[in-house]
């Protein structure tokens, strides 16, 4: 962090973010004392002190100073790119709650206030569900339309996409389900006919131009208005939920730009999905709506509970899976997940799913594009190919993470990162040029997945379903295994090419400066592999039904192998290999299909892929990106297995100058200001005296700066030689000496301490469980040093032979 001097310039250059930080601009603007309408906890002992003062009848000046020492707005807030103090926030909230509960017995109005305070959480969840559901519906409708815009335009009304344009038409045929006279491709509009080489080239050119236009608009908007809107956002949200502050990351401009550019990015044909960005959008909604409620606006810990619920809402609207969304939030995104949040997240996810359903973006009351409904059984022997798919998923996941991180690191460190707009345009051009010729990459990835998940029946006429129908008397649902016709073989090699293309292009696409998600491309890779394997197995079973492995269960005329199921299992395996989700993945997949019969194959594939991927590389994609960016994220799932002690990690080390401390009654304002300007520490312990080094408390740099600023401006007589007291009672001063400044209210009187011989395992555990930011180290009762979260992360990096300087933030 830059060492910013504090006189007048400190806050103006702080990133006082969006309206969530109607923050203190001390230089120039007016301080708003009406900001605090609930009793701040640090004022409690103040109120007590005030009473004792009036009780003992001290002189008027000290009374005046107590009165002026109301909590200064700005004390208790955090700087950008810093970690919050979970303990302080939680105790603030408990105090507030106690205050309301005790006041509620006094009058009916207070009782109503306490009831409404309790309900505010539920009301907030309702609003988040509504807003996120509405936005997701809008995103879906717009993305569908814009994707089809690359192909042509509807003459009935330009706002209809291809499917809706031909909705009422009677000219659709069985073989070409989307043909109608109202939908004109660009070739038809420009040159007049739709067949022939010239038409193909025109369509090709228009496709590539539209893709480039959309991508260019997306990256320019991101660059011009909200640079935080790029990427998927889940890694940063994970870090924010663990206590980090990134101002503006969940603000309203980020929300607007992410929504708009997500549609543009998805429509430009790039190999990315919208599920990860939808989580970010939902969390932005959550953050913005928190400002309506004081309880959540003021308290960072409570706000993070709401953000956990909002993350669940995001996945719920992306997949139409409320339970899966809650589990995803629990497993992947949240750091602390109290049980109360579980119920509220579920409520919010249901509200959002219901809102999305009533907007009805897909026209047939489905929630997600690939809602499949087959229920054909599977046989135990099929577990072998499912496990093979799991192994493939794990291998692909590990490969993808390694290559993607290497590519992102190259983008971070070399000249590639200096041309973001150009990079996006080049990648879009390559994607569009290579994707157009292959039918399976030309359509949007969600449509591809839904086609692959679909089980072929008599009613299907796509290339993939071109089987030779032997006897035509069966109904459409239980068709036996049939030999493949030539179209199926064409589809197979086209799919194989599409697989290679997607594997390679997604590596380059994820992490670009446009909103990009990872779920859909991974599922596509898995679905293609699964379908290829499924069709292979099906044909093998048909032509070699006398082999011993097929004999018992796959007689001719039986419907034994369902390629659609293989596609689903493959999709689950690849997604699990990349993100290392376990329970949430299985639940999402079975909510997508609606069939409990397939839990065992899905679980088998997910477990196998996780084991294989974990054997190759320990982290999922989101943790890997967190590490790449150097966020201070203390991984809750890792075990700390080394035998170091607290004194090996604490600062100052042997060779460093001794710990910078403040004394409780010997410092002047000038001393403190010098100390602050000379060092960059974000907090200072307060001791009784330099000789005894007995601990009194801990005070944060930001609070010190704000309080001294405020005192210089508001209190009479505070000059550089004024004494600063952290004690409860200030000694009486002769009237000639300058006024005294009492700063006990900003000091934390109960900092956490460990002894120097505490094993680091316990220290790391304390940090994780309590959410600490720093911890003081004592030796024989005397203050010896300090351990911060950054020190722990650097130590863990060192122990794992990684570069400790990659931890960037505090």
């Amino acid at each position: 962090m830059d060492n910013q001097g504090y006189c007048g310039e400190s806050f103006n250059s702080l990133q006082s973010g969006t309206s969530d930080e109607d923050m203190v601009e001390i230089a120039g603007a007016t301080l708003d004392f009406s900001v605090t309408d609930d009793v701040p906890p640090l004022d409690r002992e103040y109120a007590g002190g005030y009473n004792t003062y009036t009780g003992e009848g001290m002189n008027g000046t000290s009374k005046l100073m107590d009165f002026l020492d109301e909590p200064v707005p700005g004390v208790g807030t955090y700087e950008d790119f810093n970690t919050i103090d979970w303990v302080r926030e939680k105790s603030k909230d408990r105090d507030r709650h106690r205050e309301i509960a005790s006041k509620s017995k006094e009058s009916t109005w207070a009782l109503i206030q306490s009831v409404s305070d309790a309900f505010s959480g539920w009301l907030l969840m309702l609003l988040i569900g509504l807003m996120a559901g509405a936005l997701a519906g809008g995103i879906d409708i717009s993305a569908h339309w814009m994707t089809d815009l690359k192909d042509g335009v509807c003459l009935n009304g330009f706002w209809f996409n291809h499917e809706h344009c031909c909705w009422t038409s009677n000219e659709t045929t069985f073989m070409e389900r989307d043909k109608c006279p109202q939908w004109k491709s660009w070739a038809e509009l420009i040159i007049g006919h739709s067949e022939g080489a010239f038409a193909y080239i025109t369509n090709y050119l228009m496709y590539v131009s539209w893709a480039l236009l959309f991508a260019f608009l997306a990256v320019s908007l991101v660059r011009a208005f909200a640079p935080y809107a790029c990427g998927s956002g889940i890694s940063e949200i994970k870090t924010i939920l663990s206590g980090f502050i990134i101002r503006g990351y969940l603000g309203k401009w980020t929300l607007i730009i992410k929504t708009i550019t997500l549609v543009l990015a998805v429509s430009s044909g790039l190999s990315l999905g919208k599920e990860g960005p939808l989580v970010h959008v939902a969390c932005c909604c959550g953050n913005i709506l928190c400002h309506l409620f004081t309880k959540y606006r003021k308290n960072e810990a409570k706000r993070r509970e709401v953000l956990s619920a909002a993350a669940a809402v995001g996945v719920s609207v992306a997949f139409g899976a409320p339970i899966g969304g809650v589990l995803f939030s629990l497993e992947e995104v949240s750091y602390y997940f109290p049980l109360k949040t579980l119920w509220r997240s579920f409520f919010a996810a249901l509200v959002a799913a219901f809102t999305l359903r009533s907007i009805n973006p897909f026209g047939n009351s489905k929630l997600v594009l690939f809602y499949v409904e087959f229920h054909s059984p599977w046989h135990l022997l099929e577990l072998i190919p499912f496990i093979l798919l799991g192994i493939f998923g794990g291998l692909w996941g590990a490969f993808f993470i390694r290559t993607n991180i290497a590519w992102c690191r190259r983008r971070k460190t070399t000249k590639l990162g200096h041309y973001p707009v150009l990079e996006v345009l080049v990648v879009t051009a390559v994607t569009a040029i290579l994707a157009f010729p292959n039918d399976y990459t030309r359509i949007s990835t969600s449509e591809l997945i839904s086609e692959l998940f679909n089980d072929c029946g008599l009613l299907d006429s796509s290339k993939l379903c071109d089987y030779i129908n032997l006897n035509s008397s069966k109904s459409s649902n239980e068709l036996p295994d049939r030999p493949a016709n030539s179209n199926v073989y064409t589809a197979m090699w086209q799919l194989a090419l599409a697989l290679i293309f997607k594997v390679l292009i997604t590596i380059v696409t994820f992490g670009m400066k446009v909103p990009s998600g990872l779920f859909i491309p991974s599922m596509a890779v898995g679905a293609i592999t699964g379908r290829l394997l499924g069709v292979g197995m099906e044909q093998l079973a048909y032509y070699h039904h006398d082999w011993v492995i097929f004999k018992g269960w796959c007689t001719p005329g039986a419907d034994c192998i369902t390629p659609g199921l293989y596609a689903m299992v493959g999709a689950a395996a690849c997604l699990g290999g990349v993100t290392r989700m376990t329970v949430s993945l299985v639940v999402i997949m079975f909510e997508l299909t609606g069939g409990l019969e397939y839990i065992v194959p899905l679980m088998a594939a997910a477990m196998t892929s996780k084991w294989v991927a974990d054997a190759i590389g320990r982290e999922g994609i989101y943790e890997a990106h967190i590490r790449l960016n150097g966020y201070p994220f203390l991984e809750a799932k890792e075990e700390f297995g080394h035998k170091t002690l607290a004194m090996d990690v604490m600062r100052p080390r042997r060779s460093d100058p001794p710990l910078t401390v403040l004394t409780q009654d010997h410092m002047t304002v000038e001393d403190v200001e010098t100390l602050i300007s000379e060092t960059t520490y974000s907090g200072f312990p307060v001791v009784v005296s330099h000789e005894s080094q007995r601990l009194v408390g801990f005070v944060l740099r930001r609070d010190l700066v704000i309080s001294i600023e405020n005192a210089r401006k508001r209190q009479d007589g505070i000059v550089s030689t004024s004494h600063i007291y952290f004690t409860e009672y200030m000694p009486p001063q002769p009237s000639t000496s300058p006024a005294q400044l009492k700063l006990r209210s900003i000091m934390d009187l109960s900092p956490f301490t460990v002894t120097d011989h505490t094993p680091m395992e316990i220290v790391v555990d304390i940090f994780r469980k309590l959410g600490l930011r720093q911890c003081l180290v004592t030796h024989n009762g005397r203050l010896l040093g300090i351990i911060t979260k950054k020190d722990i992360l650097k130590h863990m990096a060192q122990m794992a032979n990684r570069d400790p300087d990659s931890i960037l933030f505090n």
């Binding site: 830059d2 310039e9 103006n12 250059s13 990133q15 973010g17 230089a27 120039g28 509504l130 509405a134 519906g137 809008g138 409708i141 717009s142 339309w145 009304g157 706002w159 209809f160 809706h164 909705w167 009422t168 009677n170 659709t172 045929t173 069985f174 608009l217 320019s220 908007l221 660059r223 011009a224 208005f225 909200a226 640079p227 935080y228 790029c230 503006g248 309203k252 401009w253 929300l255 607007i256 730009i257 708009i260 913005i288 009533s358 907007i359 009805n360 026209g363 047939n364 009351s365 983008r411 971070k412 008599l458 009613l459 035509s472 109904s475 459409s476 992490g511 400066k513 960016n629 150097g630």
Partner: protein, 197 residues
């Protein structure tokens, strides 16, 4: 300046109005009579004997959505109708073209506004500022991190110009602050690659 004020209030209004419009759409959907164009019964009939497969679309209500009502004219003679209809699958579908139209139009208008604002910010505003205030008072919002008195320039410029109301001062101040935030974000993300790489 009026344009800036209008744009600033507009962007705050957009969020609230978006939510209101969506709620409105949800309510109108349930109350208004369904446009007859927005319902249909789609019957897919697979190939049967020599007949090719065919798709039939009609806008009938849900109770009439079956093979006998929708498949007209019936391509098979009377005794085969049952066998033919057994293989057909009929589904009742609904959509709301009003929702689709409203969503697309809202989306395009927001996109258009943002593009106009972006063009204004990158191209027109420096030109206008230079013409109105001259080079010496150009607001140095772009290049300085941690500059000492960022609002001094703004206040300076504002006070020297014609008398303005407090609201416009606040708008100018808010816009400058926002621009600086975006600048900081852009530096972290695009230039120094500190976040979100």
């Amino acid at each position: 300046v009026i344009a800036m004020w209008a744009l600033l209030t507009l962007h705050r209004w957009i969020i609230h109005s978006g939510l209101k419009i969506c709620c409105m759409l949800l309510s109108t959907q349930s109350t208004e009579a369904k446009n007859s164009e927005d319902i249909r019964c789609k019957c897919i009939c697979p190939p049967y004997k020599e007949l090719p497969g065919k798709i039939y679309n009609q806008n009938v209500s849900q109770k009439d959505c079956n093979c006998l009502h929708v498949v007209e004219p019936m391509p098979v003679p009377g005794k085969d109708v049952e066998a033919y209809c057994l293989r057909c699958e009929c589904k009742y579908e609904e959509r709301s073209s009003v929702t689709i139209k409203a969503t697309i139009i809202i989306y395009l208008s927001i996109l258009g506004l943002l593009l106009l604002y972006m063009v204004y910010l990158t191209l027109l505003e420096p030109v206008l500022k230079r013409r109105l205030f001259g080079h010496s008072q150009l607001i140095q919002s772009d290049d300085e991190v941690g500059d000492h008195q960022p609002f001094a320039n703004a206040h300076d410029v504002l006070s020297r110009s014609r008398s303005r109301t407090n609201v416009l001062n606040k708008v100018e101040y808010a816009q400058q602050r926002w621009k600086r935030q975006v600048q900081e974000q852009r530096k972290s993300v695009f230039d120094r690659h500190v976040v979100l790489s």
